[in-house]
Amino acid sequence: MIQTEHLSKSFDAKLALVDLTMAVEPGEILGFLGPNGAGKSTTVKILTGMIRATSGRAVVAGFDIATEPLEVKKRIGYVPETAALYDGLTAAEYLELIGCLHHLDPKTTATRRGELLELFGLGDVQHQRMTEFSKGMRQKVLIASALIHRPDVLFLDEPLDGLDANAAAVVKELLKKLAAQGKTILFCSHILEVVERICTRILIVNGGRQVTSGTAAEIRAATGTATLEEAFSRLTGVRDVGQVASDFLSALEKA
């Protein structure tokens, strides 16, 4: 469902993504991990057709993103890392806008938006402008907008950001159920416990390059670590975190 071959992206002289080859099958939730600036969001932006790859190939939902971007976009849902939305709109209007852009008929949009907003507990405030919304409420609208057209593939960049514990639990369960229905999900997050709990497989990138891929257990075993957090630190080149914290403290005391 998601397939990349030697995918690369550079911004002027800076290499943001180098030679990424991977595949995510239907029913899979791939935890796409990496430290800040590792190339996660760049990969997601390429796969969603927001920016073009410098080289390589990507196929999403059976279509090449470079040659048939609209076919891909019809079949994907996306929650961006930055919760940017037109907050002058109401939640209902925003979902109507998304429905229009996905060519849903207005009745279908109206029905689905009502259902989704009710499920996220936003039914009562759906006619309020989103300028008045908290970060979590905006995130819920974004997740609803990623689901309203029933996509086959979901790209979720920090989807739990800002959500309260209850809403986060609902979204995690929802993702599992969607995967069980055969949807393909690429899940970017820095919360490793969540990734370990809901993702069927994990891929770690660092400095734009893939460093490992496998189940959480496989990665732990390969790195000889007890937790995914430790494995992540080791694979992404961070020294002993305790030592780093001590170095910080010493630096602060010196200053």
């Binding site: 932006k45 969603t48 057709g49 927001m50 920016i51 073009r52 609209l70 076919e71 976009k73 019809k74 994907i76 996306y78 961006p80 930055t82 940017a84 939305l85 037109y86 907050d87 002058g88 709109l89 109401t90 209902a92 209007e93 109507e96 806008l97 998304i98 229009c100 852009l101 996905h102 060519h103 207005p106 006619h127 309020q128 402008r129 300028t131 008045e132 907008s145």
Partner: protein, 539 residues
């Protein structure tokens, strides 16, 4: 320097840091342009362009300064232009300098005093206005020194900066005072209308001055010091030149004294209570968004735009007009200009029936300038927005970019241009009482302004609200457009007898316009299809 700032209750180090960062951010936003050139190159090109533009204006003023021996006339013209330019810049580019709560989210919890914070915002505006005044004034100042001597030259320099400072202070003081009087929430909602009123004052004052100075002044190259003239602030600063040239009497001394008193009062007002509780008021403005306000009953994007991209764009444009003050102001700012042009048209002997007037050669009135300018004001308003990061939806959804861009143009035509033309039509009808003639004339004006809009879309095909806002360039662009569209309007005026002189002439022009519209549409389609492939999300 630090001691002076400390005496004023301003933390110098914080003030300097905040001012420099604000300027850096403005420069970067201004150069956040997709181009084959680097951002720095674009930034420098933008600056050079502005320097050339203001220098050309300065050259014109230097010639006036050289030609006239009447220092009051020279001073009034010079200061009138300074007021107009600085006023436009503050209104168009820096209207949110004091009222934007965006910084408050970043700085509100930092140990920055209200006064320091306010001073940094004020300095940000003054850097722009002072730089603009310098570039505009160096040639006329040189002319004053050479033609009228050292004393008048020095007085001219003082008058330039005094007048520039006065204009910026007066507008910012107006905003600050309103925020105190009506409250943050009310001001936020009414800000665009406040700006409209101020625009009317700035443009109106400029044209009022030119009308008053007009024929008599040009005929004799002197300007009488009537009581009415002395109510116009630029004349207060013009008095400096007269005093330096040896002028005496209360009509010279009093205006100069009033200018100094006004500057001191404004500076005192801005530095006093306005700055003391600035943070509180910004906090009020920031938290006013937290008050629950239901959207007005959704009227829908209208029957014209029922499906898909067109409906989406219509929905968005309507909402942005309702909620985005910058966009609303971008659209509505045509109104003061139009009213000024109507007033000027009326004072020039009324707005004639274009068909009848054609025989006299004045079929197109000054209002044409506004009608032709409107699309060029709509296009940047439609493209640039503080919500530009939200435009990722147009990149990640299966929306046809060509349709989105064309829909945006059509929505703007239907929502703004058509009602505006109806408004202009009503004005013409009031003066001419000939429905058919007005219909034909408005249809032709509509075709022309639509053609201008198409031209702008062709030159710069962008998705709606997808580019960041820019500080420092909009007012220059606006003034350049006023000049350019004035020339276009003059050309139309010149061809007026040909257009309205016979049915065949009118029909031919309509045919040409429709043909040009079709050609531009095809060109736009080809360009957008080519460019759409290379568009990338920049948020």
């Amino acid at each position: 320097m630090r001691a002076i700032f400390a005496a004023l209750g301003i933390d110098y180090a914080q003030w300097k840091a905040l001012t420099l960062v604000a300027l850096k951010l403005d420069f970067r936003m201004g150069t956040f342009l997709r181009s084959r050139f680097s951002r720095e190159a674009r930034g420098i090109a933008l600056l050079v362009g502005q320097v050339i533009f203001y220098s050309v204006y300065g050259l014109f003023l230097a010639i006036v300064t050289w030609v006239s021996r009447d220092l009051f006339l020279v001073g009034t013209v010079l200061m009138g232009y300074v007021t107009f330019m600085v006023g436009t810049s503050v209104l168009v580019d820096h209207n949110s300098a004091l009222t934007s709560p965006a910084d408050y989210g970043v700085l509100g919890f930092r140990p920055v005093s209200s006064r320091t914070y306010f001073a940094a915002r004020l300095a940000n505006v003054l850097v722009y206005t002072t730089a603009m005044t310098t570039v505009m004034a160096y040639l006329p100042a040189l002319s004053l020194f050479v033609r009228h001597g050292l004393a008048v030259g020095l007085a001219g320099v003082a008058a330039f900066y005094g007048c520039s400072l006065f204009t910026a202070f007066a507008i910012l003081f107006g905003y600050g005072t309103l925020m105190r009087l009506v409250g943050a929430d009310a001001l936020k909602r009414a800000l665009s209308y406040v700006q409209l009123a101020m625009s009317f004052f700035i443009y109106g004052g400029y044209f009022f001055m030119s009308r008053l100075a007009g024929s008599r002044a040009l005929a004799s190259l002197t300007l009488p010091k009537s009581a009415w003239m002395l109510l116009f602030p630029p004349t207060w600063f013009a008095a400096y030149l007269e005093i330096a040239g040896g002028g005496t009497g209360w009509r010279v001394i009093v205006p100069a004294f009033v200018s100094v008193a006004a500057l001191v009062a404004l500076a005192y007002g801005l530095g006093g209570r306005l700055s003391m509780d600035y943070s509180d008021r910004l906090a009020g403005l920031a938290s006013s968004t937290q008050k629950i306000r239901s959207a007005r009953a959704a009227a829908g994007p209208g029957w014209l735009f029922r499906a898909d991209e067109a409906r989406a764009v219509a929905l968005l444009v309507r909402s942005q007009f309702r909620n985005d003050q910058r966009f609303r102001m971008g659209v509505l700012s045509i109104l003061p200009l139009t009213l000024i042009y109507v007033l000027m048209g009326v004072s020039n002997g009324g707005m004639h029936d274009p068909f009848v007037a054609a025989r006299g050669g004045s079929g197109f009135s000054l209002v044409t300038v506004a009608v032709v300018m409107f699309p060029s004001m709509l296009k940047p308003a439609l493209t640039r927005s503080e919500s530009f990061r939200a435009s990722w939806v147009f990149f990640a959804c299966p929306a046809d970019r060509l349709r989105v861009i064309r829909s945006a143009k059509n929505v703007v035509v239907a929502f703004f241009l058509a009602p505006y033309l109806l408004f202009i039509g009503a004005i013409y009808l009031y003066f001419t009482r000939n429905v058919l003639h007005v219909l034909v004339h408005i249809a032709l004006l509509g075709l022309i302004s639509h053609l201008v809009l198409q031209g702008f879309v062709l030159l710069d095909p962008e998705l709606p609200f997808s580019r960041p806002t820019q500080t420092g360039g909009r007012s220059t662009a606006l003034i350049m457009l006023m000049v350019f569209m004035g020339l276009v309007s003059g050309l139309l005026q010149a061809f007026s007898p040909l257009i309205y002189g016979s049915v065949r002439g009118t029909a031919t022009v309509f045919g040409v316009m429709v043909g040009a519209t079709v050609v531009l549409d095809l060109l736009t389609r080809a360009r957008v299809e080519r460019q759409a492939r290379s568009l990338e999300f920049e948020g």
